[in-house]
């Protein structure tokens, strides 16, 4: 710590840190554009100028750029000096020379960093009489709208897109005053993180195209802290609602989890909420048809139907912990089934076993960025848990920073660090059956079929540590790879093994676990990051539901069935699921969206989607995170756990079931001690700040007395929330609430998302009172290494047979996101991915239709080829609406469809 003097006041700062970062961290407002906490400084915009003085006697000083200036001992600077203030106003004035007169029709307006900075510097009138430069825009796909006239050339977009996210198709073109940020031609931005450009761009060049369809200003959105429901990573989000419709998803900063960025599935996958496929009415079956009915009527009917006979409950990995627990309690633990396929169930069991009994270190997503060697085992992470891929990509920067430190380039001088590292690779090896997006940063990529990958994993564990079980019989050329990889992992201080559900192999998890066990030693704990399929897979696993596949097979089922937010057709084969449903007399479904399962329900209750419910998800690392409803959905839609509580009240006539989230949590914790941290995730609903609830709406929320006036001019009392210490209006506390209740970022003078700086301990650091979310399951400290036994490896039985392996896709594989319009536009047709040699043998060309046969079934799929993939594998898109194909991985054949 050194002393520095800013405008005559002494501050204690860390030496070598960049000056702008420090000033912002202590709350001093220096205008800036090109600096971004996640991407460091480049010094492109010249706005963050301050004055630096040689010593106390120096009265003139010199103007420097604070973002490229390291903090030095005894440094004297001035932010408020008139000359430097004038300088900053001039910089803005020149940046604004060509800025169009667009603010009223610009989607960034009201949360625009350029607006904020212009006001902050005091620039008001354009004195330049020359004409404004204009550009033609490009079509950039269904997610991002392009309006190039508004650009101020800060280079944040290309720095994020190309350097941080590893995209290739967005760049800067043209020269001097005519630089253009875009693609080489119209077309969809290929990178999976392109949506972050909306938040990264300080003006309105890149805006959210899905928001544009139902545009609302930031100040008009009712928002709440929420969790993304589209994969298991549990990224923190801010959904925003207006007039009963979900308008957009924004990133909610969580230092440990998603930081500043979301993937495009999480950001744009929300549109299913506003679709006509939503279940919004209570329905009961009369004959063949489902008809609308009332709550009282349906509760009576359910009571009549479910009183007699045994009732079975099927939970869901996409429903909250509370909802699953409520069902568990209603039907009894012995009748509660997890509602996932047998294969997924086994994976989940094993994963929990590893977390509980094996000495592993499960890192947070932030910690994965710090790993100094990463092995991606058999998983296309970019598509099965996208945000994690972005974190893994940052291991490159970690390495580059360490290298650059040798020649005294500071870590925050991002561009210089990258230039220094040139084409250096990340300390990463990927072993996958086909080419993945992470391969371009990985220092080595191996192409093996999934079964060989498992074998390779077991071999590697044994190569690292002799205690691990040995494997005989493997190809000779593996030896060299094994030795290299074992050496790299052993030399690493923070090795990390990454895998996930996408490959569908239980043994893959065991192999990954064995490698971490082999690496664990006294001074080192290897990390294991395994991505589960759904937002609450972990929560469901911890509730210990029974394996549904057991009774699917036997057909020994009781009379009544309650299904919670689950479409069994996504987990089981159609014939099997049909047969299963036909055994029941009464089926009650609680869900928010129509699925194939809806057709079998005799009673349907509408539940809220994540943005309309309150509850808890537990992510794949075991981090429990609370989400609150951003708005109250139109009755009768309500939280699943509330429905189940009401049914229990009615059915058992006991009364006294929970009415609020706190009461539900209190019971949950009594039943399952593992969920104890859930009560500490956020303040209880009675929490008040200065006697006030925290406001969901920003203080300038508008239209309060007119938005419902067309229905009734007499204003209704605003809805109350029994589950959260938050109000549904702008009334309430609008300062900095506890981080678990932050629903929008705003501070005086800072309307854009950059106001976040004021909510953090230091810029780019943890939130002011620590980050929300708590681990419910910490890996054991038991130092004894344990190993999984070597499984029996799959072998091919006949010539021409291929390993059919699932290919998850960021756009298309998500159950709910695939209903969203923009995501559907970006979704490819279901395809089979094969090596050109395989295509040649079977007389297939790209885009032909192939018939894939396995397990006595056949699927017609479009052919795609990849010349870098393993030639004994056929990758098949999985989880797509058109074809679920739940049985993968399989072994099968491929042939050309004969023309009729």
């Amino acid at each position: 710590m050194v002393n520095i003097y800013i405008d005559g006041i002494k501050y204690q700062a860390e030496e070598g840190k960049n000056l702008l970062d420090y000033c912002l961290s202590v709350g001093l407002d220096i205008p800036y554009f090109c600096f971004h906490p996640a991407m460091g400084s480049v010094g492109a915009c010249r706005l963050c100028a301050v004055k630096m003085y040689k010593d106390e006697n120096d009265t003139r000083g010199k103007i420097i750029m604070s973002c490229v200036q390291p903090v030095q001992d005894g440094m004297i600077i001035s932010i408020e000096d008139p000359e430097v203030k004038h300088f900053r106003a001039q910089v803005i004035e020149s940046l604004m020379n060509n800025h169009p007169h667009d603010c009223p029709i610009c989607d960034e307006g009201g949360e625009c960093h350029l607006q904020d900075m212009t006001v902050m510097t005091g620039h008001v009138y354009r004195r330049n009489r020359f004409k404004k430069r204009t550009y033609r825009n490009q079509y950039l796909g269904p997610f991002i709208n392009h309006e190039m006239n508004r650009c101020i050339q800060c280079y944040r977009c290309t720095r994020f897109y190309r350097e941080y996210a590893g995209g290739y198709d967005l760049d800067v073109f043209g020269i001097h005053s005519r630089v253009f940020f875009g693609r080489h031609q119209d077309g969809m931005l290929e990178n999976e993180f392109s949506g972050n450009l909306v938040e990264v761009c300080p003006t309105g060049v890149f805006t959210d195209k899905t928001l544009k369809k139902h545009y609302t200003r930031k100040w008009d959105l009712s928002t709440a802290p929420s969790i993304c429901e589209h994969c298991s990573l549990g990224c923190n989000t801010i959904p925003g609602e207006r007039y009963g419709k979900l308008r957009r998803i924004r990133n909610r900063y969580n230092y440990d989890v998603n930081g500043y960025f979301l993937c495009d599935r999480g950001r744009f996958g929300y549109e299913y909420v506003n679709r006509e496929t939503r279940i919004k009415k209570i329905k009961a079956r009369f004959g063949a048809e489902l008809q609308d009915t009332t709550e009282d009527e349906i509760l009576d009917k359910i009571t009549n139907a479910f009183e007699k006979g045994k009732t079975l409950g099927i939970g869901s990995a996409r429903a909250s912990v509370e909802a699953n627990y409520a069902l568990n309690k209603l039907v009894g633990a012995e009748n509660f089934y997890a509602g996932i396929s047998g294969k997924d169930h086994q994976i989940l069991r094993n994963y929990l076993d590893i977390l509980r009994n094996y000495p592993v270190n499960v890192p947070s997503m932030k910690e994965t960025e710090e790993a100094d060697y990463v092995l991606v085992l058999g998983e296309d992470i970019t598509h099965s848990a996208p945000r994690l891929a972005l974190s893994l990509r940052q291991t490159l920067m970690k390495k580059a920073m360490d290298e650059a430190a040798r020649v005294s380039i500071p870590r925050w001088l991002d561009h210089a660090v990258r230039e220094f590292y040139q084409d250096g690779k990340a300390p990463m090896t990927t072993i996958t059956p086909y080419n993945t997006k992470l391969d371009d940063v990985a220092s080595k990529s191996l192409r093996l079929n999934p079964h060989d990958t498992v074998k390779f994993g077991f071999l590697l564990a044994n190569r690292i540590n002799n205690d691990a079980p040995a494997v005989k019989d493997y190809p000779g050329e593996w030896d060299e790879w094994l030795d290299q990889l074992a050496k790299a992992l052993i030399n690493a201080k923070k090795p990390l093994i990454v895998s996930g559900w996408g490959n569908g192999l239980e043994e893959m998890l065991k192999a990954a676990a064995n490698i971490t066990q082999a690496l664990n030693g006294e001074e080192r704990k290897a990390g294991l990051f395994y991505a589960l399929p759904e937002a609450n897979s972990m929560g469901l696993g911890l509730l210990e539901g029974n394996d549904l596949s057991g009774i699917m097979e036997t057909g020994d089922a009781p009379e009544n069935l309650i299904i919670l937010e689950n479409d069994l057709y996504r987990h089981f084969d159609k014939v099997q699921a049909d047969k299963f449903f036909n055994q029941f007399k009464n089926i009650l479904l609680i869900d928010h969206t129509e699925t194939n399962t809806t057709d079998h329900a005799s009673f349907v209750l509408p539940s809220g989607v994540t943005a309309e419910s309150s509850g808890t998800f537990i992510n794949t690392e075991g981090r429990a995170q609370r989400f609150y409803k951003a708005y109250i959905p139109e009755a009768p839609v309500m939280d699943s756990w509330r429905w189940l509580g009401r049914i229990e009240n009615h059915l058992k006539k006991t009364g006294g079931q929970w009415n609020s989230l706190d009461e539900c949590l209190a019971e949950l914790v009594k039943g399952y001690t593992v969920f104890k941290p859930l009560t500490e995730l956020a303040p209880p609903s009675g929490f008040r700040i200065n006697g006030e609830k925290v406001a969901r709406a920003p203080h300038r929320y508008t239209g309060r007395t007119s938005m419902h006036a067309h229905k009734n001019v007499h204003e209704q009392k605003p809805p109350q929330d029994e589950d959260a210490p938050m109000s549904f209006t702008m009334e309430g506390y609008n300062g900095t609430p506890p981080s678990s209740l932050v629903s929008h970022y705003w501070k005086p003078g800072w309307n854009s998302v950059q106001a976040l700086n004021k909510y953090q301990q230091e810029v780019g650091g943890p939130m002011h009172d620590g980050d929300p979310g708590k681990r419910v399951i910490e890996p054991t400290d038991n130092p004894k290494q344990q190993y999984f036994k070597v499984p029996v490896f799959e072998t091919k039985t006949e010539a021409g047979e291929l390993y059919l392996t699932p290919v998850p896709h960021i756009f298309g594989s998500g159950e709910m996101s695939s209903l969203s319009a923009a995501i559907r536009e970006a979704t490819p047709e279901p395809y089979v991915l094969i090596h050109p040699n395989v295509a040649g043998q079977n007389d297939l060309n790209e885009d032909d239709v192939a018939i894939v046969r396995a397990n006595g079934k056949e699927w017609k799929l479009k052919v795609k080829t990849d010349d870098k993939m393993a030639d004994d594998v056929a990758g098949i898109t999985t989880g797509f609406r058109q074809s679920y194909i739940v049985e993968l991985p399989l072994k099968g054949n491929i042939e050309k469809q004969e023309k009729k």
């Binding site: 667009d102 404004k132 006239n149 005519r178 008009d220 508008t702 007119s706």
Partner: protein, 171 residues
């Protein structure tokens, strides 16, 4: 005594003075042009809606009596899908007019808005739109803004260069 008689006389003489009471509503009351009365939405010189649905009037409104929803035509021109003012809440402060960047929303010297039913005080866009430009003539926002709309390509707005040729390497 004298003062009482004087007062009686003065009052009596008022009977022959000119009447101060205006016979409203038989005789219409004329207000200054800048009087802040009923709110209207005006059209630009091309007879198209001036309102671009920027939400600035609604955010400026101290009683929150304006609500609207933005939408776009197929060429990118933004306009309000609905625009509602609850006049039973309006305090005629004129802040919406001041906030409006396109001169769309204007207060006019008309105050005759009495209703028996409060519900009738809720005005929708069709009730607010007038045929002309209102108080402010000549201004056409889309002719100044950089956005491309039907009939105005990039570079065709006032004070704009034609679009940059990205393939040019000329200095």
């Amino acid at each position: 005594m004298i003062s009482m008689l004087r007062s009686l006389w003065m009052v009596f003489m008022h009977a022959f003075k000119k009447r101060e009471t205006v016979l409203y509503p038989e005789k219409p009351y004329e207000l200054p042009a800048r009087y802040r009365g009923r709110i209207i939405l005006s059209r630009d010189p091309d007879s198209q809606e001036r309102c671009v649905a920027c939400y600035l009037c609604s955010v400026a409104c101290p009683v929150d009596c304006i609500s609207l929803q933005a939408t776009e035509d197929e060429h990118g021109r933004r306009y309000p899908e609905f625009f509602r003012i609850n006049f039973s809440r309006c305090i005629f402060c004129g802040l919406c007019e001041e906030a409006c960047p396109t001169y769309a929303i204007q207060l006019i010297p008309d105050f005759e808005m009495s209703e028996y039913d409060r519900q009738n005080m809720v005005y929708e866009k069709e009730d607010l739109m007038i045929a002309g430009e209102g108080k402010y003539h000549g201004y056409n926002f889309y002719k100044v803004a950089g956005l491309k709309i039907a009939g105005k390509d990039k570079g065709e707005a006032e004070n704009e260069e034609s679009p940059v040729d990205l393939n040019s390497l000329m200095p």
